[in-house]
């Protein structure tokens, strides 16, 4: 039997969830606040929360020193480009495995997933050398390819589970109704799978946007996305927390906003099939 929701319990839950939420959100908030401090204030002990001299100088400096727009554009091309390329490969693959499964379908799926279990650094040297020899280092093409490949297993898995949710009888009904393969995909499968495809796409864009191993290893300037832009404020010139924070804020803002507006779709996508 469910316990009654008393006002006291409600208050307790509210406080608890705000606490958890704030703890999770705190690093982002701190980065955001720090980005408006001078370098001196940024490292002050005890830390300063609001009672410091607010300044925009970090943003000005960061924009002077590096080409934010170039990195932003690179991030967009890499995340969106790799997502679309991956979807083009993943949709037919997931379709085939969900609706025309063979004896080894489960094994293939597990094998694909297993590639995600290997630490990326394990293949760094071969991939680096391949990129070097084919002239793909520091190119957008190279990064789109690598991002497509590393996110493909997750995409196929997600789409596979969505497609599995579509009852086979509906597709059989379409076949009985005279639909050929093209019509079946166009009129039945795709409309029914669009919520799943959309949330997979969003999640993949976010993953690719935030990816910071391969983007740091395989780019230096021309194709460098925002991850490289943030990193450039950490090592070479020593640690400049305020500028680093300004760069981070600018780098995560776009994806944060995208995530904010697509929350519903993302949550629905990630819990798809769990609750009917």
């Amino acid at each position: 039997m469910a316990r009654a929701v008393t006002p006291a319990r409600k208050l307790g839950f509210t406080i608890a969830s705000w606490t958890v939420g704030l703890v999770i959100f705190f690093p982002i908030l701190w980065t955001f606040i720090t980005s408006f401090k001078s370098e001196g204030d940024a490292v002050a002990i005890p830390p300063l929360f609001v009672n410091f001299h607010w300044t925009l100088e970090n943003y000005v400096l960061v924009n002077q020193r590096s080409d934010y727009l170039l990195h932003f554009w690179n991030s967009v091309v890499i995340s969106v480009g790799s997502t679309f390329l991956a979807l083009v490969i993943a949709i037919p693959a997931a379709w085939a495995m969900a609706f025309v499964p063979g004896k080894r379908t489960k094994d293939v799926l597990m094998w694909m997933l297993s590639t995600k279990m290997m630490p990326a650094v394990g293949v760094l040297i071969p991939i680096y050398l391949m990129f070097k020899n084919t002239g793909l280092l520091d190119t957008l093409t190279g990064l789109v390819i690598i991002m497509t490949l590393i996110n493909l297993p997750i995409l196929i898995w997600m789409l596979y589970t969505y497609f599995k949710e579509i009852p086979g009888e509906i597709l059989e009904a379409a076949r009985m109704d005279g639909a050929d393969l093209k019509s079946e995909v166009l009129y039945i499968l795709t409309p029914m799978a669009i919520p799943g495809i959309a949330s997979t796409m969003l999640l993949n864009i976010i993953l690719a946007w935030n990816e910071a191993f391969w983007t740091l290893m395989l780019t230096s300037s021309q194709a460098a996305p925002l991850t490289q832009f943030i990193a450039s404020y950490s090592s070479p010139e020593g640690l400049f927390y305020a500028k680093l924070s300004a760069a981070s804020t600018m780098a995560i803002a776009p994806i944060l906003i995208l995530g904010w507006f697509s929350q519903k779709q993302l949550v629905r996508g990630l819990t798809f099939g769990a609750v009917k």
Binding site: P167, E169, I170, E172, A173, A174, R175, M176, D177, G178, A179, D180, S183, Y187, I188, P191, M192
Partner: protein
């Protein structure tokens, strides 16, 4: 036209022969019911006719044309699924129009046919709704609507009523039967419910383990079952089977008597027994009687029989209504 012939049709899943070589003729305009316990291959057989499963061996002819390799869409058959299989993202109108759109039919004709089907099935007010907003019975009607607009050669029904509640099931049973009278199109109907089979069919095909046990009209199966399996499967409550001395006397391994063909007496009769359960339905009373030296027997009596738990009763089978079976389970002539 909708004449369907199966010749030596075989279906294997891996090494398992679900249907070992089966022959069957379905005539144009017939209402044929495939009935049998679950796992007997009746749904598989329907799916083979539909083309949703490939036959392992044998030939399926539709109107005299070999359709064994024809894809489902080109067979000219319509199917109603157990789960209804409506397209959830389309309105009722679009669901019903879908097969016509796939056939590339003229839009005005599409409109006319959908309106007509909606009228026949009482769906006119629901055409703009999505399947999710309909009740089970309405969804079932949409599924039937989607089948009838195409004016197919034959309708295939795969246990279409099993998701409905009892009252609705009886209604839909009548509606489908009426639809058959109106359309006069061949219908093949799969069910595990022998009452549906008896009430709806022109011809019943009783299946067990992928084999046809008997084909015949409902009353033929009831009056002259070919073997013990059919005798036990058709008729409700089930036929009583008796072995031993009573069977030996009639030169049979087993004899069978239906519950309605046993006379009940409080004083004297062939078998003496004790009532274990009495089910009063108003119109009838079903008595379950523990008979000495036999299995429990079921007797159908009038509604006003006042027999209760523990009462002693005497049962006498009607001599001309006894079915005799040999050691192989087949009916002895």
């Amino acid at each position: 036209m909708g004449k369907i012939s199966l010749r030596k049709v075989t279906k294997k899943f891996g090494e398992v022969a679900v249907i070992p070589s089966l022959d069957l003729e379905i005539n144009d305009g017939e209402f044929v019911v495939f009935v049998g316990p679950s796992g007997c291959g009746k749904s598989t057989l329907l799916r083979l006719i539909a083309g949703l499963e490939d036959v392992t061996d044998g030939v399926i002819e539709i109107d005299g044309v070999n359709a064994t390799q024809t894809p489902p869409a080109k067979r000219g058959l319509a199917m109603v699924f157990q789960s209804y299989a409506l397209y959830p993202h389309m309105s009722v109108r679009k669901n019903i129009t879908f097969p016509l759109k796939m056939a590339g039919m003229d839009p005005a004709e599409q409109e006319r046919r959908v309106a007509n089907a909606a009228k026949v099935l009482n769906l006119t007010d629901y055409l703009e709704r999505k399947p999710g907003q309909l009740s089970g019975g309405q969804r079932q009607r949409v599924a039937i609507g989607r089948a009838i607009v195409r004016e197919p050669k034959a309708f295939l029904f795969d246990e279409p009523l099993s998701n409905l509640d009892a009252a609705l099931r009886v209604n839909m049973r009548l509606e489908i039967t009426e639809l058959h009278h109106t359309l006069k199109t061949t219908m093949i109907y799969v069910t595990h419910d022998q009452v549906e089979a008896m009430t709806m069919a022109d011809k019943i095909v009783v299946l067990q383990a992928g084999r046809v046990e008997q084909v015949g009209s409902p009353l033929e199966l009831y009056n002259a079952p070919a073997n013990i399996f059919v005798a036990g499967f058709i008729g409700s409550p089930r036929m009583n089977f008796v072995t031993g001395a009573d069977a030996d006397k009639l030169n049979a391994k087993t004899i069978g008597v239906r519950p309605e063909h046993i006379d009940l007496s409080k004083d004297a009769g062939h078998w003496k027994g004790t009532v274990t359960v009495s089910e009063h339905l108003g119109s009838d009373t079903f008595l379950h009687v523990a008979v000495e030296g036999q299995d429990t027997m079921t007797v159908r009596a009038d509604g006003d029989v006042a027999a209760r738990y523990g009462d002693t009763v005497y049962l006498t089978p009607q001599a001309d209504r006894i079915h005799r079976f040999g050691a192989d389970g087949k009916t002895l002539k």
